[in-house]
Symmetry: C2
Subunit: 408 residues, 2 copies
């Protein structure tokens, strides 16, 4: 249909959708909305007014939409995303959107319309609980990560996958915006002027930055499993009884704790933000409790499922040494804490804020939530090597908000 | 000259060498010797009897020569080797053989003839000291490793190099023969029956195997720098005033300590072997002392040169945090000990023995040296996390041989 890449207009997107085999009837009446609210892509929602059938066309732009054409960005992320979704579908098909079609020429993917779901971040801001969330996310994590690791794959097949998912430009964004810029006075930073003192204390904390350097190196050099790579609550769609993980365009081989930590960080950002939100006090407390319990259940569910997969599949004589899987899981817990800490701090100090905090008014109240996020983030990093169980991780959050610790 | 791959006969190798541009005169009288004594390749030494000019043609066979055609092996290792030599030549051109020509069709490299050097292992067995060795090897290690790591390279360029050097089949050999098979009753093992008790105590040492599992995972998942990947004393050629590192066909992105550890392991194997060798007692003691001092000087030279490169080149705000380079170097020292431990044990228990030990007769005396190698190997692994300086590493060897420790 197109001989070379071009960003589709809304009209072209409709024609394109119409031409996809087996999707819409010849007489379909297609209505198109461009709904991309992310930072990087065009997203068209195309629905047939007659049959009710619909599809999402997601097209990568050759630059970062959030900044403009001055920040060029590889179209290869579209291939990475389509292939990562395919990988995930092999293991947890109900937890990712279906990919109907991938067009490498246009860097475009036709995927399942999830309009009956909402972005988890929005649900959490509204104080909505999702009873299925911990179960689904722990399954997603354990299965997508275990099955792409050396613990499961033939080592030669794994190395081919490492090659397939080398993703330099997207990783560079994370290396800069999560692991470097927030921790010194970088131009990309943007934070509430009221918290400058807290931010500067981070810039001056040598011990903290030394630990962040280790976490950055781990992100850059540990090919433990195929990660989603950007697993915040804006990359998860939910409804009461369904969870879908979307947008794996940052996928690459990295440390497992980076994905787990992304979820935990964003639940903890929600946790601190609700201290300031307008929910009634009782409802607020209960919701915050649910957030921490959900974080814990995601970890314990992940751990249990990972162990089950380990026991079923690991054949290597050395991997099978008693205690080794315990060491790995403990390392992942500590990595989770460390990466979660970076991800919390970068959302307060760095280029890409989160709505959970941004929506808090006035600025003084927002500053309090932001300061709490920074405190929790720092503690997660500095205390991670002494953690032994997930309740010690969530206790760091409880403690900063003065909520009393888990009974041990 | 050849349209598809074929293993060259000696006669074909001569014609091939003659046809290389700019090497031999039209009337050259070429004499060819096949000198491959390694496990994997054909190696032709081709010299012009008139001019004295010579060249080495190294051709990969599509199987492991040591086992035969039943063990197929990728010809791609020939590309890896040529490209790794080119990488190293950019930084330490005097420490690697010059590559004249690479023929991807034939999986053949034409390289500088180093017949005036001898294999370091042979020199060490004869008790020869090489005054330049520590200086040269520490330079080789610091420069080849630092300049291919994320500490130096643009992160995107580094990821492209990771892709370029993905080397699944060669890594698989190491994964099996260094990190797995020696530690259980595998078919590939082959050891002196007199040391069965020591070997079985390793097979039954859960704590040890758990640590080896971590080292194996580090080998498989940490893309810290472009390694040589097989840096034993058979991959190093020497003469009085020259050192050349050859044969990087196992090159891939892995943990820096694996290369440093390979050298240390082989110096320590020489150290234990000389306890049994026929040198006069005085000469023996002095040579053993030189071996440990050389190990220490390789480390301290590596550390000093790595720091110099770090100070000169590292620009990343987070890498520059005070103390971070100390952490990295300490981690490399501990990795060095751990990997050296595995490499010592595998040479005693596993498929590929070393001449240093193999040449010891009678079997009872050999068994003593082998047992010492196993003891040192185990201690290096189990004590590595408490090491702070290289003399503590070499003290492990001194202690096992009852030689008294370094004065601290």
């Amino acid at each position: 249909m197109f001989e070379k890449y071009k960003a589709l207009t809304e009209k072209e997107a409709v024609s394109y959708a119409h031409s996809l085999p087996g999707l819409f009837a010849p007489d379909a009446e297609l209505l198109n909305k461009e709904i991309g609210d992310g930072n990087l892509n065009l997203v068209f929602h195309i629905a047939d007014q007659k049959s009710g059938k619909s599809v999402i066309l997601k097209q990568a732009l050759p630059y970062a939409r959030v900044v403009g054409e001055s920040w060029p960005l590889t179209l290869d992320r579209s291939r990475i995303e389509a292939e990562a979704l395919k990988q995930a579908a092999k293991r947890v098909s109900s937890l990712v959107p279906q990919v109907y079609f991938y067009d490498s020429q246009l860097a475009l993917t036709a995927i399942e319309d999830l309009s009956d779901h909402i972005i988890l971040r929005k649900g959490l801001i509204a104080g909505t609980r999702y009873p299925q969330l911990a179960e689904d996310l722990s399954t997603y994590l354990a299965h997508t990560l275990f099955y792409t690791s050396d613990y499961y794959l033939d080592p030669q097949e794994k190395k081919e996958k490492v090659r397939q998912f080398i993703n330099p430009e997207m990783c560079k964004i994370t290396e800069d915006l999560v692991f470097t810029d927030p921790y010194y006075n970088a131009d990309t930073n943007s934070f509430n002027p009221l918290i400058r003192e807290s931010v500067e204390s981070i810039w001056n904390n040598n011990e903290l930055k030394r630990e962040i350097a280790h976490l950055k190196e781990a992100f850059m050099t540990r090919t433990q499993a195929l990660l989603h790579g950007d697993l915040h609550t804006g990359s998860i769609m939910v409804k009461e009884d369904s969870t879908k993980v979307i947008d794996p365009e940052f996928a690459y081989y990295g440390p497992i704790g980076f994905d787990v930590g992304a979820i935990v960080a964003n639940l903890l950002l929600s946790y601190v933000s609700h201290e300031a939100h307008s929910l009634e006090p009782d409802k607020r407390e209960a919701f915050q409790k649910w957030l921490l319990e959900t974080s814990e259940k995601i970890w314990t569910g992940f751990e249990t499922k990972f162990r089950t997969l380990w026991e079923k599949h690991v054949k290597d004589e050395i991997w099978l040494t008693e205690g080794y899987v315990d060491d790995i899981l403990l390392q992942i817990l500590r990595d989770t804490a460390g990466f979660a800490g970076c991800k919390m701090m970068r959302r307060v100090i760095g280029l890409a804020p989160v709505a959970d905090l941004e929506l808090i008014e006035p600025a003084e109240v927002r500053a309090e939530a932001e300061t709490n996020a920074l405190l929790i983030g720092q503690q997660l990093i500095l205390k991670r090597k002494s953690l032994h169980k997930v309740s010690e991780l969530t206790d760091i959050a409880r403690q900063v908000l003065g909520k009393g610790l888990t009974v041990k």
